[in-house]
C-alpha cells in the first residue's frame, strides 16, 4: 500500500478507480437484490446501465442533452464576461468597488433558481431565461475570484513595472490582469460545475419540457421507466465530470506557470 503522496502509475490509478465504481455498484446491487433495503423506486445499477443502453439510440434524449449543454454554455459565457469585467474593475479601481460592493452583496444571496420564474414572466419561455438563471448562479465565483486576483497582485511585481516607467493603466494591463487570470479561471471552473447543476434544476422548474431536466420530468410523470430517469441523471453526472476534467487539463496548459511557481 502506498501512502497518499507517493506516486502511482497512471494505469494503476485507472484500475483502482474502476474497482471503486464497479465495487460500489456491486454492493448496491447486492443490498437491493437481497431485500436488505426494500423501497420501491430505488434503482438497480444493472437496470440503470440497461437504461443508459436504451437512452443511447433515443434521439429525443440527445436533443435534450444538446439543449442543456447549449443553455449551460451560454449562461457560463455570460457569467464569465460579466464576472471578469465587474470583478476586474472592482479589484482595480476603488470607485468601481464602492459602486458595485452593495449591489453584489445583495444579488449574491438571491437563490438563482427562484429568480427563474420571474425571468420567464418578464422575457417569456425559452433558452434565454434558463441561461440567465445559470449565469446568475455562475457569475459570483468568477467575479469574486477575479477581484481577489487583481487585488492580490504582488507589490514587488507592481513596483518593478513602475520603475520601468509603466503607469497605472499599463501596470493593470501588463501585470495585474495576467496575474489575476488564473484566479478568474478557477472561478470559471467552479462556476462550470455549479452551472450544470443549475441548468438541470432550472429546467425542472421552468424548462417547459426542454433539456435533460425536462426529459427527466416527463419520464418521471409517466413513471413508466424509472430506470430511464436514473440513466439520464447518470449521463448528466458523467457530463459534469467530463467538463471538470477538460477544464482541469486546460488549467494545466494555460496556467502551468502558477503551479511551477508554487513548487
Amino acid at each position: 500500500m502506498k501512502l497518499l503522496h507517493e506516486p502511482l502509475s497512471g494505469q494503476r490509478q485507472v484500475v483502482l478507480g474502476v474497482v471503486g465504481v464497479v465495487g460500489t455498484a456491486a454492493v448496491w446491487e447486492g443490498v437491493i437484490r437481497s431485500g436488505l433495503l426494500d423501497v420501491p423506486g430505488l434503482p438497480l445499477p444493472s437496470g440503470v446501465v440497461r437504461g443508459v443502453g436504451d437512452l443511447l439510440p433515443d434521439s429525443t434524449f440527445w436533443d435534450a442533452v444538446v439543449f442543456t449543454l447549449g443553455e449551460w454554455m451560454l449562461g457560463l459565457a455570460i457569467a464569465a464576461v460579466v464576472g471578469v469585467l465587474v470583478g476586474g474593475l472592482m479589484g482595480a479601481f476603488r470607485s468601481a468597488f464602492l459602486v458595485f460592493e452593495w449591489p453584489v452583496e445583495a444579488f449574491r444571496v438571491l437563490p438563482s433558481v427562484a429568480v427563474g420564474p420571474i425571468l420567464v414572466l418578464v422575457i417569456g419561455q425559452g433558452r434565454l431565461p434558463l441561461s440567465l438563471t445559470v449565469a446568475l448562479a455562475c457569475v459570483w465565483p468568477v467575479l469574486l475570484n477575479t477581484m481577489y486576483g487583481v487585488r492580490s497582485t504582488d507589490t514587488t511585481a507592481v513596483m518593478t513595472a513602475k520603475t520601468f516607467g509603466y503607469g497605472g493603466l499599463a501596470v493593470l494591463r501588463s501585470i495585474k490582469i495576467p496575474s489575476a487570470l488564473p484566479f478568474a479561471y478557477t472561478g470559471v471552473r467552479i462556476a462550470a460545475s455549479i452551472g450544470l447543476l443549475v441548468a438541470v434544476s432550472a429546467e425542472l422548474l421552468i424548462g417547459n419540457g426542454s433539456g435533460i431536466g425536462g426529459y427527466i420530468l416527463s419520464n418521471t410523470a409517466n413513471a413508466t421507466n424509472l430506470d430511464l430517469v436514473y440513466a439520464a441523471t447518470l449521463v448528466a453526472g458523467v457530463l459534469g465530470v467530463t467538463v471538470n476534467l477538460v477544464m482541469a487539463k486546460l488549467d494545466d496548459v494555460l496556467f502551468g506557470w502558477k503551479k511551477g511557481l508554487a513548487q
Partner: protein, 270 residues
Amino acid sequence: MTEARVTENPVPPTGTSAELLLDGVSRSYGDNLAVRSISAEVPASKISVIVGPSGCGKSTLLRIISGLDEPTAGRVEFEGVPVKGVPEGLAMVFQDYSRSLYPWMRVDKNVAFPIKHLPAKERAERVRFAIDEVGLSGKEKLYPWQMSGGMQQRVAIARALASHPKLLLMDEPYASVDAQTRADLEDLLMRIQAELGITVLVVTHDIDESVYLADRIIVLSAPPSVVAEVIDVDLPRPRDHIATKTDPRFVEIRGHVTRLLRSKEQATSA
C-alpha cells in the same frame, strides 16, 4: 516643508560629478521616523553602497530615490533634476527575484519587459546583449521558476540592463543566494559596471560586500537613521575575492565600518 533641511550630515566634497544627490531626505510612517535627514552624493559611473543594519530604512530610501515614494522632508536630485515620479534612465533590482520577475513570461520576455515600446529588431538585439552579458545565453526560453535563485537574479540584472539605465539601484540583490553564487554575482556586477560605465547604487547589510564592491560607502546608523560616515574606497580594480579581501586596506576599512555600525547600535540601545 523644503525649509526643513537639517544639515547634520554635511555632504563631503568630492572631485567627481554627482549623478544623484540626497539632501536632508526624511521619511516617517505616522509617528515612526524611518529615515532621518539623509544627505549624500552618489558619484556618476561608480559603484556606491549604502550599508546599514536591517530596518534602518535602506529600502525606504531606494523607493524614494526611484520615485516610488516621496520623502516627508528633503529632496532628491537625479542628474540635477528634482525627482518627481519615476525618472527616465533608472532601473531597480530587488532582493526578491521570484516576485520581481514575471512567472508567466519566459526569460526573453522578462528581459524585454522594459523595452516593449522599441522596434522589434532593436529590442531583440538588446535582449540578446543583456542575456549574454549575464551569461545566460541559451536559457531564453526557460521560465524563471525553472532556474536556480542565482540564475533568476541574473535575469533580473539582464532585464535592468536591457533598459539601458544610467542609474542602477539594487536592494540587497544577493541576500537570498548562497555564498558562492553571491561572490560570482558580485564580480559580475563589477565587470558589467566597468564595461558599461553606469552609475550603481547598491543597498546591503553585509559589510564585506559593501567594501568589496564600493567606490564609495555610505554608512547608515540604526533607526531613525542618519549617515554615520561616507567612505571613499581606493582599493584597486579589478578586484578579486582573494587578493582584495586579504589587502590590508580592505581589512582596515572593513574594521572601520564594523566599528561604526557597532558603536551606533550600542549608542541607540544604551
